[in-house]
Subunit: 323 residues, 2 copies
Amino acid sequence: METTAATFFDLVRADLEEVEARMRTGPGGHHPQLDDAIDHLLTSGGKRLRPILVLLTCGMLGADCDASITLAAAVEMLHTATLVHDDLIDGSLIRRGYPTLNTKLSLGATVLTGDYIFARAAHLASGIGSKALMRIFSRTLMTIVNGEISQLFGTEVEDIRQEYFDRIYAKTASLFEVSCEGAALLSECDSEVVGTMKSFGYNVGIAFQIVDDILDFVSEQEQVGKPVANDLRHGLITLPTLYYLESNPEDGHLHDKLVQRTMSDKTIEHLIQNIRNSGAIDQALEQAEEFTSTAKKLLASMPSTPEREGLYELADYVVQRTI
Amino acid sequence: METTAATFFDLVRADLEEVEARMRTGPGGHHPQLDDAIDHLLTSGGKRLRPILVLLTCGMLGADCDASITLAAAVEMLHTATLVHDDLIDGSLIRRGYPTLNTKLSLGATVLTGDYIFARAAHLASGIGSKALMRIFSRTLMTIVNGEISQLFGTEVEDIRQEYFDRIYAKTASLFEVSCEGAALLSECDSEVVGTMKSFGYNVGIAFQIVDDILDFVSEQEQVGKPVANDLRHGLITLPTLYYLESNPEDGHLHDKLVQRTMSDKTIEHLIQNIRNSGAIDQALEQAEEFTSTAKKLLASMPSTPEREGLYELADYVVQRTI
């Protein structure tokens, strides 16, 4: 697991170890190769931001500790399962510096391992025994998968900005949202608090993905383990490109050429440099900061606890991080 | 949908139409190509035995009608999702006489459509609002996927008969079991009744799969839409082969040669004819009838309703069917 110096991590360190253990410990009776695959996936890291959101929200609102840990594990398992299928579909070879599962297993074994982790996520969530939670949990899986399908099949895009925000909601913010909403549901708080925390998760999630999309442009290849502007190379328009397109309306066909992938490699390299050197990166970062600022304002009405401070810090971390 | 003349079908015909509608109607907001894919899958048929089991059990025990329909839809969607991924992994081109989804869509789109249908199944099940049901539902998905993984990775087989029954439990009987157990859980009956109906589902499910494995041997290619003894050709030992091996111990290496797929095509054709002409088929059918007989005995303690009669008939149909 990648650790950060942030104190929000210290607040949940002990519980997070329990979460790790719960993700690795299934109900038994399964093929030993599944343990190996799950172990490989979990050892390959990740920031564990979704379980941390669950644990901090639960801590702040006084939810049952055991249920919090189970929800945190369920949310991270759901995330892990979607990555297994994503990497297979995209043919990705590396994630977080580790070989992806699809480089180690056959197509069939990779599909089924993903399925098994989905099932484990649902089984963990069902163990909490909250009907409302199960409802939003399965709904989120539909949202995530539908987002991927829409990306794959393509959609008639009328508003490329709206399309971007819909896409990053499905891809990332929906699970951040359900982490905070689900955690609030486990606490004995009223529906207004649940709604506020849902919105907090949404805003932090959108900010997180915008920053991911910025890092895709500004990081060096060694840092992110994939080519710079990988999304753009795959015809995927993210916020920096979107701002760049808006500031350079003279090339009206740029968007279509990108999406249809009819640009030469040389032109793409040139465009990437232009975007990196333009104000689009800063503009995107400002947009991300607006979302975290909205998120932080939502915390004002929450109980003043160390965990609330942790959530403030986490919101800041999301836009300040460099990996 | 393939219909049968059996009267058990008439008992649930109207509800089954509701089940079909519920399977096709998602919560909305998804990509239109998903509707097309789901429509193709559902139009491609299937006997709908799992939803029929749910509806008959619910009817017999007086469960809420709306919840019954939702559970029936959830169970069939779960079944459908596993078939989508199975066909992809096996590279199957035809199922029930229709082209499989993987012949129509890309790898990615097929994986994701399966995932989406899993999510829809979980979402339907969660809508019933029964904690216990959600628990066994997600557990069943784990069982099914684990069974497929074990088949793919292979296992050290100490007892080939036990391995066969474990495999067909995971593949088929587990979902028949959860159909009846889940239906009983929706009714206000005591845990003994739930356990009895769970056992009924298990026994009918095992019988159903044994008969499927027999039909794989005795049907003509045109009927089943795939080569006769397709399993054997893929190194998969089913009950007829198992009995044949037991009656012909003089060729002690036959099992290993089959599993390792080191036999020539000619030798396999010869073996298939030998199995078809041996007593192994009848022996397997007798075994299936034992399971349905056990199942029917379990119904004796159930409320004497038309639906109970339907379940008796369904148990008989499972071993008498020719497709």
